[in-house]
Symmetry: C2
Subunit: 208 residues, 2 copies
């Protein structure tokens, strides 16, 4: 397909596509003439992924290039590929460390028996949140966290089930990334609605 068709199908403007081509985020099309290149379904999938990374996840163009590069390097190792795609292994780094929160998180992961990389950014993210809650006077201890973690295990099974049967490693990584990044707001919306429903059940009396 021509660049105009790629633009129509992806919803990304021709100008932006040319920018991604210049920045090396999108591989060049097959040159058909001096002024015309041919693009295919691979380019379309890659554009969707770039949009998810830059738009929904808010990554910069240079970080997106890093992530895409790392994905391309690890296509042979499904676990590592998924780790990168799901953001559980670098290149996302966070220097802010909360040692109290970090010790809590390490203890929690050990109690859960989870196989999680020591440098997983999610460990840092969780430690920071526990630190915020402590600072705001509503500390959450491990006993309160474990039931949430057990529910997260069930969620992760649903997540990984959705990737079953995808053989192409890049497609697998792309789909994992899209589902992880884009499902977050959906899961939070479901939680809000479930809270409202649970509140109605407990304090009830019909619709508010």
């Amino acid at each position: 397909m021509r660049i105009s068709e790629l633009s129509r199908l992806s919803g990304v403007s021709v100008t932006t596509i040319k920018y991604y081509l210049r920045e090396g985020l999108l591989p060049a099309g097959r040159q058909r003439s001096a002024t015309q290149a041919e693009y295919d379904g691979h380019h379309l999938r890659r554009l969707r992924l770039i949009r998810a990374l830059t738009g929904v996840r808010g990554l910069s163009v240079s970080t997106t290039r890093e992530v895409l590069g790392a994905l391309a390097e690890h296509t042979g190792d499904t676990h590592r590929l998924l780790g990168l795609a799901l953001g559980s292994i670098g290149p996302f780094e966070d220097s802010a460390e909360d040692s109290t929160g970090r010790a809590e998180v390490d203890g929690l992961v050990e109690e859960l028996g989870w196989d999680v990389h020591d440098s997983a950014p999610a460990r840092v993210a969780l430690a920071e949140t526990l630190g915020s809650l402590r600072g705001l006077g509503v500390p959450l201890d491990r006993g309160a966290l474990v039931p949430y973690a057990r529910l997260a295990e069930h969620t992760a099974v649903l997540d990984l089930d959705q990737l079953d049967g995808i053989d192409d490693p890049l497609e697998l990584a792309e789909r994992a990334l899209l589902l992880t990044v884009l499902l977050e707001p959906a899961l939070m919306a479901l939680r809000r609605m479930a809270q409202e429903n649970e509140s109605a059940r407990r304090h009830g009396g019909g619709r508010p």
Copy 2:
């Protein structure tokens, strides 16, 4: 306590506290002299709440004032109070409507048997996310969403359990808000770690 002590305990600078006082987010202290006012635990709790709304949730000062005002008005009705605090009922509005997504969400809520207000912003948020996923070529149908929704029911029970035994209505609303807003990143971090663990279990072979 004096404003300097309030600042120390809350971690909010005196300048910012004075700004909140001027903007009507924080009620005035009891005047002890022409230049000195006395603050108490109520002010401290209110400051924590303002920090959670403006900082973590990213609300503007004027929206925060609206939310706090609405909370104060509905202290007699626990369900409505929790609804406001948990963000399941206004004043958060979103004008962008995706009618396909909205019909999907309404159908889902009906299938689940949930008691959720028609104008709950979470309905709009979920509809938008479903629209994004469809646009990116990874549509999620109701069958895929229902198991996530059932897990959200369990999460909501844990959430509401944490509010048990709090009688003071404002404290209840504040705590509900803090736990909802601040737990979101923690739950997402748990999900990422659980995904990594589940990926290791399936595609395994020790640590990546």
